[in-house]
């Protein structure tokens, strides 16, 4: 199990479109992926779950990955957060 704290950087937060991209990215990995905010945890491969995080700009999210490709998964997801989901 690996984990890392990340921050939502884009202006409108983790709304529908970035949530969809995030889930698609997570689905590429075999590991189990979770996102946790203030103790509320959701499955990173569920768009409905990710949306319910209601993570706005500046929200801190804990990424947790567990499985054979956990390191790669964590790096890819953290990078996606870091890029502000490729949004303004």
């Amino acid at each position: 199990m690996v984990e890392q704290e990340v921050v939502v950087k884009n202006r409108l937060g983790l709304h529908t479109r970035p949530a969809a991209s995030l889930v698609k990215l997570a689905a590429k990995f075999k590991s189990e992926i979770f996102l946790e905010r203030d103790g509320y945890r959701v499955n990173g491969k569920s768009i409905i779950g990710v949306m319910t995080l209601a993570a706005e700009e500046g929200a801190r999210i804990l990424l947790l990955c567990e499985g054979e490709d956990e390191k790669e998964a964590l790096a890819a997801l953290a990078d996606f957060f870091d890029r502000g989901f490729d949004e303004p």
């Binding site: 884009n10 202006r11 409108l12 937060g13 709304h15 529908t16 479109r17 969809a20 889930v23 509320y40 499955n43 491969k45 569920s46 768009i47 409905i48 779950g49 949306m51 319910t52 209601a54 706005e56 700009e57 500046g58 929200a59 949004e87 303004p88």
Partner: protein, 592 residues
């Protein structure tokens, strides 16, 4: 239901918000959504799994169809919300949770699906952020679609060309679907005039009354309904007399409409030769084809905020440019006034911030000056569009000259950056200021010396002059755009603008209100900008009015010291000179 019983029932009059103009008389068809009562039952898991899969498949098929129609009719940006619903409906994690519960608890699929979706929607509703709370509706929409398909009720067969749809809340998906089913009109318990579905219904030309609070409680399938989208009135079980009254009114309206549309192409010229301009306030690109048919002299207010709402993010320069370009090309040879993002207040927030007084807070040009990168991006998009047709720029929520100077400086930077990249734009692009804050109204002469035009925003101006929050029900009756102070301020702004040698326009609700037309004309207003549907009416009134008499009438109105007297005089004027317009378009709040 027994048809005799329907006849016996008492007439019920409900008042809501007229979201889309027109009169419809037809039969109620209730679109059940939130009202689906889900019972908890014991059920055989394997059978329930099969039912669930069938419903998911059917729902996905429907959504794909809606998505494709939406892409055609509305463009791929706006269709994005249906694409997201498609993703939800195939969320593997969520549905494996549902299946686990069906297997473990041996309960009916309706109960478990409903319970699981509601949990997620409730979670979203806890957010402090309006944008995220809105997402709860999308989840509810997906839930209701699955539940509806579980009962295998076929929606479409219920419509027969005489249907008026009654629902608790209309979603954009419903509006798109209904437009293909020859529905006469729709009404709902919730929603406002600015909700997405209301805007769509106006574009699609379907009369609508929303915000009726409890219409779904009063109505049953098959009841006769009259819907008056002009005045926001719905009559259930109309008496013969009421029905006749509305039939007649509908005939009038239809006839007047066709007359007005026929004459709409003629210039807004008074009988004694004063030429003014009648322009459109635009919310959606879908309204563009209506410009010419409704005689618009261009677009006097192009709201750019809907781009944010549609894209669910701040659209980049290229997206904005493509949208703006479509508008200027369609409006040519007339011009388009692009208002820079006016977010905040009741409109939309960026990120998570809570203000005790949003209307007095971080909004309009204040926000944009704090985010110069965003403003520059928008300026560049407008400037690029100006190479394809006449464009103008307008700053909202200006309180002081310094803001105009700062924004102008950023505009110059944007021009320089385009120059250095060799991108073409209109060097003489005109800049104007929206006058909607009392301080700006008082300083309008000085502000006018920094720009090429002023445009009066009466909604906010009224709100700030009278210190009344127009979204607060408790004081909504205090909000009064015919208050003498508002009219005198409008006069001051027009005179100041003219002193400084610039044109003065108005893009607030008042500009589109036929009751105010003669007064505004008499006060010297140069340009009227209102919703597209109202423009032919304004032109008709202007073309039949003598400017000199209007000036005299306006002078008399300026002497009045109460709003009631002003309204009485205006109602009387319209009633005696434009009786049909009076009867078909004037909201009943003025007719007491």
């Amino acid at each position: 239901m027994n048809p005799d019983k329907v006849q016996e029932r008492k007439e019920i009059v409900l008042r809501g918000i007229g979201a889309s103009p027109g009169i419809a008389i037809g039969t109620a068809v209730i679109l059940k959504k939130h009202g689906v009562v889900v019972e908890e039952k014991v059920a055989e898991p394997s059978q329930e799994m099969e039912r669930l899969q069938k419903s998911i498949d059917r729902s996905a098929y429907e959504l794909q169809k809606i998505y494709r129609t939406a892409v055609d009719k509305l463009g791929s940006e706006k269709a994005g919300i249906f694409e997201a619903q498609l993703l939800m409906i195939s969320d593997p994690i969520f549905f494996s949770g549902v299946k686990k519960r069906i297997d473990g608890e041996k309960k009916n699929v309706e109960f478990i699906v409903s319970d699981e979706f509601s949990k997620q929607a409730d979670q979203l509703r806890k957010s402090d952020n309006e944008l995220f709370r809105q997402r709860a509706y999308e989840i509810e929409d997906v839930k209701n679609r699955i539940l509806r398909n579980l009962t295998e009720a076929k929606l479409k067969s219920k419509f027969d060309g005489k249907s008026i749809v009654v629902t608790s809340d209309l979603t954009p998906a419903d509006a798109v679907l209904l437009s293909r089913n020859e529905v006469l009109g729709y009404t709902s318990d919730f929603g406002g005039a600015r909700s997405h579905a209301s805007i769509l219904s106006r574009s699609l030309g379907i009369p609508a009354v929303v915000g009726l609070k409890e219409i779904t409680k009063h109505i049953e399938d098959g009841m006769k309904v009259v819907l008056d989208g002009y005045h926001g009135v719905v009559v259930i079980n109309p008496s013969e007399e009421t029905a006749r009254k509305y039939e007649e009114k509908k005939k009038w309206c239809d006839q007047l409409d066709s007359e007005l549309i026929t004459e709409a192409g003629q210039p807004a010229l008074t009988t004694d030769g004063r030429r003014v301009f009648v322009e459109a306030n635009l919310e959606l690109l879908e309204e563009l084809p209506l410009l010419k048919s409704h005689g618009a002299d261009g677009i006097g207010l192009f709201r750019t905020e809907p781009l944010i709402i549609d894209a669910d993010s701040i659209p980049d320069e290229e997206t904005q440019f493509q949208t703006f370009k479509k508008a200027v090309v369609e409006a040519a040879p007339d011009s388009v006034v692009f208002r820079t993002f006016d977010i905040g207040g009741d409109k939309l927030f960026i990120g998570d911030h809570d203000e005790p007084n949003p209307f007095l807070g971080w909004r309009g040009i204040r926000m944009m000056l704090d985010r110069p990168d965003m403003l520059k991006e928008q300026f560049r998009a407008i400037l690029r569009a100006s190479a394809f047709g006449k464009s103008k720029i307008m700053y909202p929520m200006v309180a002081s000259i310094e803001e105009v100077v700062k924004a102008n400086a950023i505009l110059e930077e944007s021009k320089a950056s385009l120059d250095s990249e060799g991108i073409a734009f209109d060097r003489d692009i005109e800049v104007g200021v929206m006058i909607e804050i009392p301080s700006a109204a008082l300083m309008s002469r000085e502000i006018a010396s920094h720009v090429k035009f002023l445009s009066i925003g009466t909604n906010d101006l009224t709100q700030y002059l009278l210190a009344v929050d127009r979204t607060n029900d408790l004081v909504a009756n205090v909000f009064d755009e015919f208050h003498p102070s508002v009219i005198r301020t409008v006069k001051h702004i027009i005179d100041s603008g003219h002193d400084a040698g610039v044109k003065v326009a108005m893009c607030g609700e008042m500009a589109g209100n036929p009751l105010a037309t003669v007064m505004l004309l008499g006060l010297g207003l140069d340009e009227f900008s209102g919703v597209v549907s109202t423009l032919p009416v304004l032109k008709k009134i202007i073309r039949a009015t003598n400017y000199k008499s209007a000036r005299k009438f306006a002078r008399q109105l300026l002497k009045l010291d109460s709003s009631d007297d002003v309204k009485k005089a205006l109602v009387e004027y319209l009633k005696t000179r434009f009786e049909r317009i009076y009867h078909t378009t004037i909201s009943e709040e003025y007719v007491e």
